[in-house]
Amino acid sequence: MGREEILNSVRKNKPELLPLPEINADLFNEDIDLLSGFKEKVPLVGGTIKQLTSPKDIDNEITMMYPNATNIVNRTQVSSLGTVSISDKTQPKDLEDVDLAILRGTFGVAENGAIWISEEQFYIRALPFITNDLLIILDKKDICQNLHEAYELISKRKRTFGLFISGPSKTADIEQCLVIGAQGALSLTVLLI
């Protein structure tokens, strides 16, 4: 059907080959403190960020922040608060009532407060979206400057599904008023260790 027709039409109509420009990452390098840059950006995109002095404080901190969370999916080694376990038998719909998901972030991006998370970390793709609240634990050493560096860092990953997540879900579709909590998680907390 369409395939040959489209390709032939492209061949007939396209201009002469133009060179593909090279990205010179040096142009975008800035002399900034990555950690403080990242810590500034997370609240700007609607998230909450806390730096812990010891990984031992993680569970205390989470319990204080989310005292009412009962259905908790924990996908990290550093917390023991999980109450709902997931496996390859879990259907995404089973996660409908999850109050809190605790995930490990791969790295953060200082320029935009985004964190790369991938399927290995949340296992069920729907989890970071369907959970009521989302908490990501991130090592404070794992912060890069900008997206050019970020794509370098994920260039060797196993490609299934992954995302940059920057703050909680939000919308301004009613008269441009910003409302936190649209279709995805209502809040995003980042714990730096």
């Binding site: 059907m1 390709l7 201009p15 991006v109 997206l147 260039s155 939000k170």
Partner: protein, 454 residues
């Protein structure tokens, strides 16, 4: 009705127009702040434009590379020459899956193909899940902006709509309450949907994967909860390598809303076990636009909407006045390529101030293309008699300095002494809805000569 006539309807509610104008200008200012905070912003724009120009010059090879890699990852690839084929392909997938309920996230392409009415006519339930799109869907309207689909609606109007469709309580248009009610309603739709349809922001030839950007998380809620995910893309969404996303994701949200990045930038590469992923690659007039040297670069567009937010005409005429899937400056250079007669008034809906070209993250020379369409349209499409006559007269006056001086003197005389009904008659569009400036004695020419002789 042409653009000016439709704009007149929008302008009947002055308070609303003023709000619309200011709200969009505020978004433009947020864009400026975000852009100024990025070192090398202009170089980023140059890179983006260069990558897109390369893509268009190598599109056939890149499409094949993308298809091969996507198939390797277990994604099914479909090709559609036009809207009709696109809709049929989707109907076929839905029928094979025995689907009843479909959730959609924002896709201007499916709007362009009029997918919703088509699927509804086949008996499927289709729900738009982006809040703005949901609002226009239940209002039985079309999006008036590509990033802010319901920007033309007041919160009170949304309140009334939700009372009718969701049974909400009157809330004077409380955005938190209304958003939360929509969230609850849409959750039930996500949980019961058989198939999710999304758009594609970027498709990567090198990996066969694609990226979808949202703030609400609706594309992901749909795609991960339904067993089948169909992603629809125009052929121009392609980029060669994943590293190029670094350029485009840095530009997209900053240009669109002033955010440093959208909340979710989801990278889809492989379906999960037991699920299906389909991609529909659509032409629908794009290869024809590719053939037009002057207008080719309009295919660089990444649909950020910055040209709409900055446009003095768009802000004061509203997206619906363009009567096109993509409104605003970029729409006005895309639409005439699809139907020159229907959209012949759009390239004139501009002051040619060039602001659109200045904010465009992929450096499309939008205002120059608007000017070029005007040259074609005045030759190919019959223009109104009044406009033709006036322009002919103006041309003559401008070509003869003496005649020009005489015309200036008589206009000044008229504005000073002629009765109101004559000055503000239908023939004088400049006197519509505003007072003309007071006329002083003398003119620029005299003033200049006097100054020089001193």
């Amino acid at each position: 009705m042409n653009h000016a006539q439709k704009a007149e309807i929008f302008n009947k509610n002055e308070a609303k127009v003023n709000w619309h104008d200011k709200a969009l200008w505020y978004v433009r200012e947020k864009r400026d702040n975000a852009a100024h905070g990025v070192k090398g912003w202009e170089q980023l724009r140059d890179l983006a434009s260069g990558v897109k120009a390369h893509v268009l010059s190598n599109l056939d090879e890149l499409l094949i590379e993308f298809e091969t890699n996507a198939q390797k990852n277990g994604i099914t690839v479909h090709w559609a020459s036009n809207a009709e084929e696109h809709n049929k392909i989707i109907n076929k997938i839905l029928t094979e899956k025995n689907a009843k309920k479909v959730v959609k996230s924002k896709s201007m392409l499916t709007e362009e193909c009029h997918l919703n009415p088509y699927l509804e006519s086949k008996g499927f339930e289709v729900v738009d899940t982006d809040l703005g799109e949901y609002i226009v869907q239940i209002a039985k309207e079309t999006p008036s902006h590509i990033v802010l689909p319901a920007i033309h609606k007041t919160k009170e109007e949304v309140d009334t709509l939700f009372q009718e469709h969701l049974g909400t309580k009157p809330s004077d248009g409380n955005p938190e309450y209304l958003t939360n009610e929509a969230r609850k309603h849409l959750r039930t739709k996500f949980l019961t949907a058989d198939v999710a349809i999304t758009g594609v922001n970027f498709a990567i030839a090198e990996t066969g994967g694609f990226v979808v950007c949202t703030n609400e998380g609706n594309a992901d809620m749909g795609a991960h909860l339904a067993k089948t995910h169909i992603a629809c893309m125009g052929i121009e969404k392609l980029i060669p390598k994943e590293a190029h996303l670094g350029i485009f994701l840095r530009l997209l949200a900053r240009s669109a809303t002033g955010q440093p990045i959208t909340t979710y930038s989801s990278h889809f590469n492989k379906p999960t076990e037991g699920s299906e992923m389909h991609i529909v690659i659509v032409d629908n007039g794009r290869t024809e636009q590719l053939s037009r040297e002057d207008f080719r670069s309009s295919l660089h567009c990444i649909r950020c909407g910055a040209c709409m937010n900055t446009c003095p005409i768009y802000r004061r005429s509203g997206g619906h006045s363009y009567d096109a899937t993509i409104p605003g400056p970029i729409g006005s250079i895309l639409s005439p390529g699809k139907d020159l007669t229907k959209h012949s008034s759009l390239p004139f809906a501009s002051t040619l101030c060039g602001s659109c070209s200045n904010v465009c993250p992929v450096k499309i020379n939008i205002h120059e293309q608007l000017y070029k369409w005007r040259q074609i349209i005045t030759k190919d499409v019959e223009q109104p008699v009044v406009k033709k006559t006036i322009l002919k007269m103006t041309g003559k006056v401008f070509s003869k300095p003496k005649f020009y001086g005489l015309a200036g003197r008589s206009v000044r005389f008229m504005l000073k002494y002629a009765p109101r009904f004559l000055v503000y008659s239908k023939l004088n569009a400049w006197g519509k809805a505003r007072e003309l400036p007071q006329i002083k004695n003398g003119n620029f020419d005299q003033w200049y000569k006097e100054k020089r002789s001193k």
